[in-house]
């Protein structure tokens, strides 16, 4: 499938999160079912910097992971039939390498390892200033699709 980009307005068609929880600004290239990469620009205006932490603002690790998961989501929701579907996180393993600071650009690259029966496995790496800030193995699902495959004796 051919790659394409999504600007901040367009990407919201494929990503249900909204302010203050939309953690990606721009999708530079998504290849549906394969990969998605883009970025999040961080200004001192981000809502979490005043509290995390006063005098030493840095992006919370949980939100860095959220950025990776939201970008991976784009690689799945751009597949035919998946647009607008709700995605849930299932299992993420993340490693943080450095602080992500106001004024920096968080470059986010994600790759789909497998997509089958409503479950996607993927990995992602986020960079600032050309260095790895965090990396994660992720598992996400589209419950709408997953439930079509479940045994009927579900309680």
């Amino acid at each position: 499938m051919k790659g394409f980009s999504l600007n901040p307005v367009e990407l919201q068609e494929y990503q249900p999160n909204r302010y203050p929880f939309l953690m990606i600004d721009y999708v530079e290239e998504v290849i549906p079912g394969k990969s998605a990469k883009g970025f999040k620009n961080l200004t001192l205006n981000e809502w979490y910097f005043p509290e995390h932490f006063p005098g030493a603002p840095n992006m919370p690790g949980a939100l860095q992971l959220e950025s990776l998961a939201q970008m991976l989501t784009i690689a799945i929701t751009t597949l035919p039939g998946n647009k607008g579907k709700i995605i849930h996180g299932l299992k993420h393993t993340v490693r943080f390498k450095k602080e992500v600071l106001p004024g920096e650009k968080l470059v986010i690259e994600t790759e789909v390892i497998s997509w089958k029966r409503g479950i996607a496995k993927g990995k992602g790496i986020a960079y600032t200033n050309g260095e790895v800030a965090c990396e994660a193995d992720m598992m996400i699902s589209i419950p709408d699709i997953l439930k079509q495959y479940l045994p009927k004796n579900e309680n």
Partner: protein
């Protein structure tokens, strides 16, 4: 590895349970065999037996014993 061993291994590794739990095991009997666990079990079985399960068989796969009947259709005698 004998088919029964491959079959049992898929369950014990997907759900992190002991082989002694398997004979009566049904979907949702243990915490690991939830919706996600079900898909993980299907993937492990497909890999172990080099098959691709149809959606109807994935839905019908409601117990350890039922699964043996289903795999027979794919040429895997357990």
């Amino acid at each position: 590895m004998p088919n029964i061993d491959k079959y049992n291994k898929a369950f014990t590794e997907a759900f992190m349970i002991d082989e002694s739990n398997l004979p009566e095991l049904k979907y949702q009997d243990v915490g690991g065999w939830d919706s996600i666990g079900h898909m993980q079990l299907m993937s492990r079985l497909e890999e172990a037996f080099d098959i691709e399960l149809d959606i109807d068989d994935i839905i019908d796969f409601s117990s350890y014993e039922k699964g043996k009947e289903i795999l027979k259709k794919y040429g895997a005698e357990i």
